[in-house]
């Protein structure tokens, strides 16, 4: 088991979301937050911060930042739900932008569509005020072994 997975497993057991984000430098730089809802599902949030803007005229969140937030969410969601010694490795990531990300908190939820022996397929959805109006949807493959 890698040091990172060992640390991750300990933080998962204690549900120390803040320390988990602290451990991932770029997630901390973006300003990611994690919570667990009543059903025990992970909800990822990104409170608005001016440094995350990619269009100052609208203003709108940077599309690449939205991608990074969703990719990070997918990886953590997958690690959270797996009992494995290995850190999953991202193979590919595909992202559709549906609406511009406004100067509000961005939320994301993930779903493991299929977890095979070697590869996991994940769906990720991001929205702001209204869950029925997604800002972006994404799909990712992770190598598990």
């Amino acid at each position: 088991m890698s040091d990172f997975m060992e640390k991750f497993a300990a933080l998962r057991d204690s549900k120390d979301f803040a320390a988990l984000i602290e451990a991932i430098p770029y997630a901390r730089l973006m300003g990611v937050e994690i919570a667990e809802d009543e059903q025990g599902e992970l909800l990822f949030s990104l409170p608005f911060h001016p440094r995350n803007v990619g269009n100052t005229a609208l203003p709108a969140l940077h599309g690449g930042l939205i991608g990074g937030f969703l990719e990070n969410a997918a990886l953590l969601h997958l690690m959270w739900h797996r009992e494995s010694q290995e850190t999953p490795k991202i193979v590919d990531f595909s992202l559709d932008y549906l609406r511009s990300g406004r100067s509000q908190t961005l939320h994301a939820r993930c779903e493991i569509t299929k977890q095979g022996k070697r590869v996991a397929n994940m769906l990720i959805e991001a929205w702001q005020e209204d869950r029925s109006k997604p800002v972006a949807v994404a799909r990712a493959h992770f190598l598990l072994s």
Partner: protein, 155 residues
């Protein structure tokens, strides 16, 4: 013959604008120039951009932002005049892990500028584009907003 930018002023203005946007400035993106119509951007390795604290490998999200931004610049190399563009979709293939401590370059190309959509492809690499870390394809909506991306629209 190497093609020249469709409108050098558009490319120069938009490339400066894109790397200066708050998120790109936060990541420290640098515009290294455009070879024909293929721009190259660079991001230095930095501790706060790391995704895996054990290995020190840069976060995939930084590569996503780099591909998105470089691809957008490549579209502006083809634009006859100023217009606002927005990413419609983006796919990144992670070909191999980036080497910790090394800068990452991205070179992008807009290989088709249609009336409403621009199609791009990009590679990320350390030293040699023939030895890529990641490959990205994207599409952009043209005239995505009536609001100019420039604070003071060029006349």
């Amino acid at each position: 013959m190497t093609p020249t930018p469709a409108n050098r002023e558009v490319l120069e203005t938009m490339s400066k604008l894109f790397v200066s946007l708050p998120h790109c400035a936060t990541l420290g993106f640098q515009y290294l120039g455009t070879d024909g119509r293929k721009p190259v951007l660079k991001v230095e390795w930095r501790e706060d951009l790391v995704g895996n604290p054990v290995t020190g490998v840069i976060h995939g999200g930084v590569i996503t932002s780099l591909v998105d931004t470089t691809s957008a610049v490549s579209v502006t190399a083809h634009l006859p005049d100023f217009e606002t563009i927005a990413t419609l979709d983006l796919r990144i293939d992670y070909l191999k892990a980036a080497t910790p401590g090394k800068a990452i370059h991205c070179r992008a190309e807009c290989y088709r500028l249609a009336s409403q959509i621009a199609f791009t492809r990009a590679v990320c690499y350390h030293d040699d584009p023939a030895d890529p870390i990641a490959h990205g394809v994207a599409t952009f909506m043209r005239e995505s907003s009536r609001a100019s991306m420039l604070q003071e629209p060029a006349q």
